[in-house]
């Protein structure tokens, strides 16, 4: 589904990604872990098409297309979804109107007819239940005045609505208490299928107790330095990131 080859990216002359290689297939969950500043969030942003980052080398194939050539909205239409670490507050834009516009644009791109108001509300109700989000949140302006947990839940709700092929969860667990973490993880697990894939970017192992990954990759100084199964996350938790750092320094 997704193939990343030797991806390098910089922001303001500072190289953040230094040759990433990654293969993600349908049905898989990949976890990307790493210490602060290792480039985890940058990777997520580059895949979603944030313009602050300049890709200097490498390529990214997504379902046979050169992802790097596409505008952010086209990537979304192709099926990429980024759950933001810090979802932006947009005063005056209602969540419902926003979601309806997005969904119908994506449907249009896929050659599906637009949903009318009734069908849309029906779908919304269904997905709201799935991620245990309250109607009152959605009648407000997009993310405005939401707590950290509410913002993250809203991200998962949007993911449920848009049914992406590849979801990238950027530190979705940060700032969540245990209950919110469980709800978010449940949402992700329910949406999982053999046709879609998920990349979970996280600093801690605890999210991975709820969303069990097939592969764990450790990012350090802009490179994937270790890959393994879910047990790698536990090993990391036990030994700490210093273990990776020391190992890398030895090499």
């Amino acid at each position: 589904m997704l193939t990343i080859k030797n991806l390098k990216a910089k922001v303001e002359d500072k190289l953040i990604l230094n040759g990433i290689n990654l293969q993600v297939n349908a049905g898989e969950i990949h976890a990307i872990m790493g210490p602060n500043g290792s480039g985890k969030s940058t990777l997520a942003s580059v895949l979603a098409g944030r313009e602050d980052y300049e890709v200097t080398e490498g390529e990214v194939q997504f379902l046979g297309k050169n992802l790097l050539e596409l505008d952010p909205d086209v990537r979304a239409c192709e099926g990429i979804f980024l759950a933001f670490q810090y979802p932006v507050e947009i005063p005056g834009v209602s969540t419902v109107n926003f979601m309806k516009t997005a969904l119908n644009k994506i449907r249009e791109y896929r050659g599906q007819p637009s949903l009318d108001a009734v069908a849309f509300l029906q779908l919304m109700k269904e997905k709201m239940k799935l991620v245990e989000i309250d109607q009152s949140l959605l009648s407000r302006s997009l993310n405005e005045g939401f707590s950290g947990g509410e913002k993250k839940r809203n991200e998962i709700f949007q993911m449920a609505m848009l049914e992406p092929k590849l979801s990238i969860l950027d530190e979705t667990d940060s700032g969540l208490d245990i209950d919110a973490l469980r709800i978010v993880a449940n949402g992700v697990n329910k949406l999982r299928s053999k046709n879609n894939a998920t990349i979970v970017v996280t600093h801690y192992q605890r999210l991975l107790e709820h969303i069990v990954p097939d592969f764990v990759h450790v990012l350090y100084k802009g490179k994937i330095v270790k890959s393994g199964g879910k047990e790698l996350a536990l090993e990391l938790e036990a030994k700490g990131y210093d273990w990776i750092k020391n190992e890398m320094e030895l090499v």
Binding site: A48, G49, R50, E51, D71, P72, D73, R75, A76, C77, F81, L82, F84, P87, V88, I90, P91, G92, V93, N97, F98, M99, T101, A102, L103, K105, I106, Y109, S141, Q158, L162
Partner: protein, 433 residues
Amino acid sequence: MSAITSDIDLKEKIAQAFEQTPDRKNIQRTEALQHFQKLGLPGNKTEEYRFFPITRALEKNFDFDQSNPIESKIKSIYQFLIPDLEANVIVFINGIYSPVFSKVISPENEIIISDLRKAVNQNEAPLYFEKYLKTSADPFTALNTALWQDGVFIQVPAKTKVEKPVFILHINDAEKEQSICHTRLLVVLEEESELTLIERSTSIGTNNIFHTFAEEILVKENATLDYVKIQNDEGKLHQVANSLIHQSSKSKLNTFTLTMNGSLIRNNFNIAIDGENCESHFYGLYLLNGNTIADNHTVVDHIKPNSFSNELYKGVMDGNSKGVFNGKIFVRPNAQKTNAFQSNRNILLTDTATINTKPQLEIWADDVKCSHGCTSGQLDEEALFYLRSRGIPLNNAKAMLLYAFAAETLEPIKNTELKSYLDGLISQRLNKY
């Protein structure tokens, strides 16, 4: 105030109309004319009119030797009304009250609407006329007071809620030739009364229009006024509107001014908060394109303690348009415990559009909370990226954000038909981006 030499002739020419003015022997008119002649027309060095080239435009575009008000051939005003809004309609065509098109539907015990020219010589109107709006302060107030042709006097009796809004429509018919007119309004809301007042200025034809407008509105104790001004004029309108709203204790005021079209639009809008425990929401939106220049000069004057005011003006400038905002907040020495806030936010869509903004605070009392903020810039990049990452194309995302930016100013409007009409005007304008 500096008047350049060539403006002196122009000033005299404009003042010629005084000879044709009814009641020209009236002492107020004579004094006002003297004030106008003393103040002169504002030059480009006149601080208050620095960005508003009205004098040059009057000189270039108008023939002040032509005097008689022209006949209008308008058959219907339907297209200028607000859909589904049941209202008392008062129509002025080229500055003259039109009994044919005007229609009062509220019962007489709710509202009294009378001819201002008659009223100034009798009853209560003389108590209020020119009481707060001073002719010595602004040349166009002076000019209007000297030359006004027609106007209405609206009184809402104490403890009365006027159920249906009052809709005042100024139609300038410049189909055949230029139009020059001066209109006047006096509104008194007695204690504990309520009124929604809507004013719209519009035009037909492509000749030049010069319209001065002066209004005084008194909101007495415990009274509530909702006031909306719509300036969506397709014609070559050169308008200077001087508005003053005087608030007594415990009164409530909501205002909204929408400016979208016209050549040169100037609003001098003053609110005098002359009582305790008043509440004022003072909102405005200017959506400009083409070569329109819109200049909003606002004053919120806190004279008495313990009141609250909140001002929000927003602007989106496209094409070669120019937005000007000048907002003054005064907190007088007695006005302790005042809360006064002001915000002016602007978006420029092109490199040929400009914004000149000058928010001012003048505070002489220490136990107050006052702030102002102003910004100029583009749409928030973060928000744009967020919308796009959900599959919304750039243009739609921009339109959504512009609409959200603008629509915030509609918040204080309560009347649903009015609100949806204004909402429609805004989204129609912003959807094309």
